[in-house]
C-alpha cells in the first residue's frame, strides 16, 4: 500500500488571491484529508472598537474585506441601528439595496474571472473582469471610490443618487446583460468545463446541512436559505425574487447558482429603481448605543452575522462579525476529500473563500 505524503498548498500560490494554507494528505494523486491553516490575514480589528468611536468604526468595518466591502459597512450600520432603535428612511434602504446588489454583481464577476483563471480559461478571466470594470465605473460615479466607498453611515447613506443616475445604471446593466449571457452560456456549455467540473467536489444535501453551510455553496446542494427573503432593513420586502437553487452539489452546480444570481441581481436593481421612494437619505443619530443586537444579511458569499454590544459610551463593548466563509470552511475540508490533486485549486475557488473576511 502506498504511503501518504503531506503537500502544502499556499499561502503563496498563483491561483489564490489570498493567503491560506492547506495541508493536503495525499496518497498517489488523491487527497485523503485536508487540514486548513488560517491566520495569515488576522489583524484583530474587532478589538479596535475599544479605541475608535462607533460612528468612525464604519471605516474600519468596511475594510474587513475589499470585495464584500459595502456588505460589511451595511451590516455593521444595521447592527448599531438595531441596538439604538434608529429608523432608517425608506429611500436610504432602497439606495443601500441597489449598492449591495451592484456589489453582488461585482463580486460574482470577480469570482467568475478567478474561476476561469484557476481552470486555465484566461480569455474568460479577461472578459469578465473587463465587464466588471463597468460596475466599478458606476461605483466611482455614484460614491467616489472603486472598491471601498464609505457611503454607508449610521442612520442612512452619505450620498444620494438622482433619478437620471439610477436610470442610466439600469440602461448600462441592460447592455451588459446581453453580453454576459453570451459569455456565461459559452462557459457553461463548453464540453471541457462540463467534464472538469461535473461530479467533482460533491457536497450532498445531508453534508451541507450537517456542516451548516451558507450561501451559494448550500444552495447548490439543494438547501434553500437566502436571508434576503426575511430582510426588513433593505428594500427586499417590496421586490419579488426566488432564491437560485441547484441539487447536484458539485462544482458545476455552484457555478450555475452564482451565474444565475448575477442575472437575478440585475433584475432586482431594475425593480428597485422603479420603486425607489423620495425622501430623506439619513436619520439623525443621537446618543450612544446601550444594548446588544444581532443582524443578518445575505452577502455575495452567504449569510453574514453582525453583533454589537454597547455600554452607553461611544466605544462599543464588542463587535463580532461571522462571515459566510467562516461557516463554509468545514465544507471546503469535506469537499476536498477524495479529489485529484490537480483539481484542488479549482475546487477551492468554487467555494469562493474570502479569507480576509474570515480572519478579520
Amino acid at each position: 500500500m502506498a504511503e501518504t505524503t503531506v503537500i502544502p498548498f499556499g499561502p503563496q500560490h498563483p491561483v489564490l488571491p489570498e493567503p491560506v494554507h492547506i495541508d493536503l494528505e495525499m496518497q498517489d494523486e488523491k487527497v485523503l484529508r485536508a487540514i486548513p491553516s488560517i491566520g495569515y490575514v488576522h489583524r484583530g480589528l474587532e478589538k479596535l472598537v475599544e479605541k475608535r468611536d462607533y460612528q468612525k468604526f464604519v471605516y474600519v468595518a468596511e475594510r474587513i474585506c475589499g470585495i464584500c466591502s459595502f456588505g460589511h459597512g451595511w451590516g455593521y450600520c444595521r447592527a448599531v441601528e438595531g441596538a439604538m432603535h434608529i429608523d432608517v428612511p425608506p429611500r436610504a434602504k432602497y439606495l443601500r439595496t441597489i449598492w449591495h446588489e451592484l456589489s453582488r454583481i461585482h463580486s460574482h464577476l470577480l469570482w467568475l474571472g478567478l474561476m476561469a483563471d484557476a481552470m486555465g480559461f484566461e480569455n474568460l478571466f479577461m472578459s469578465s473582469w473587463r465587464m466588471r470594470e463597468k460596475i466599478l465605473d458606476i461605483f466611482e460615479e455614484t460614491t467616489g471610490g472603486r472598491i471601498i466607498f464609505s457611503v454607508c453611515k449610521i442612520g442612512g447613506v452619505r450620498r444620494d443618487m438622482e433619478k437620471g443616475t439610477l436610470n442610466s445604471i439600469v440602461d448600462r446593466l441592460t447592455d451588459m446583460e446581453a453580453e454576459l449571457r453570451v459569455i456565461t452560456d459559452e462557459f457553461l456549455k463548453e464540453p471541457t468545463v462540463i467534464r472538469r467540473m461535473s461530479g467533482v467536489g460533491v457536497l450532498s444535501r445531508e453534508d451541507a446541512i450537517e456542516l451548516c453551510c451558507v450561501g451559494p455553496v448550500a444552495r447548490a446542494s439543494g438547501v434553500v436559505g437566502d436571508m434576503r427573503l426575511i430582510d426588513t432593513e433593505g428594500a427586499y420586502q417590496d421586490l419579488s425574487f426566488e432564491p437560485c437553487v441547484a441539487t447536484e452539489g458539485d462544482c458545476l452546480a455552484r457555478c450555475k447558482v452564482r451565474i444565475a444570481e448575477l442575472f437575478q441581481s440585475i433584475g432586482l436593481i431594475r425593480q428597485a429603481v422603479e420603486k425607489v421612494p423620495d425622501g430623506e437619505i439619513a436619520a439623525l443619530v443621537r446618543g450612544n448605543p446601550k444594548e446588544e443586537f444581532f443582524t443578518r444579511i445575505e452577502q455575495p458569499r452567504g449569510e453574514a452575522i453582525y453583533y454589537v454590544k454597547g455600554n452607553g459610551t461611544k466605544f462599543l463593548d464588542r463587535m463580532r462579525v461571522r462571515t459566510p466563509t467562516n461557516a463554509n470552511i468545514p465544507a471546503l475540508v469535506r469537499a476536498l476529500q477524495g479529489c485529484d490533486y490537480a483539481d484542488v485549486p479549482m475546487l477551492v475557488v468554487t467555494i469562493d473563500p474570502c479569507i480576509s473576511c474570515t480572519e478579520r
Partner: protein, 155 residues
Amino acid sequence: MKQEYTEIESPALLDNVKEMKEDGYRLVQICCTRVPDGYELTYSFDKEYNFCHLRLTVPESGWVMSITSLYWSAFIYENEMHDLFGLDVRHIANDVDYKGTFYRLSEKAPWHTPPKKPAPPVRPQAKQPPVSKAAPAGEAVKTTAKAEEGAKEHG
C-alpha cells in the same frame, strides 16, 4: 425588534444543544465577549429563518465543553475562542483540535484582558480672574515707562 437570549448553565450546555440539533436547528455562530468577571458565550441557531440564542456565562478560571460532538463545524469558533480569549474549551474533536495553533499571534490570548473603560472627559477648569494686589509706586512707573518705550519702537 426585541431579541431573546435563553440563559443556560454550563453543565446543561450539551443537553440544550442536543435538543437544538434534534429539532433540526443549524448552528449559526458562537460569540465570546469578555465581561469583567469572565466570559459571556452566545450560541446562535437558526431553523427556517427563526433565529434564537443560548447564553452562557463562564467564570474566568472556568472551562466550557466543546460541542463538536454534535456540530462538527463548531471547531472554527471554539479554536478561535481558545486562541484569542484564552478560554479553556475541552474535548474538541481530535481531528480538528488545533491546540492553540489556529491563530499564531505575536502575543497569546490578546482578548484575555478585559477592555479598559475610557476615562470620563475632563472639563478644562475655568480660568480664575487674577487677584489684584496693591503694587509699589516705583514698579508701576517702570511698567509704564516700558510700555512707552515699546510704543515708541513700534511707532
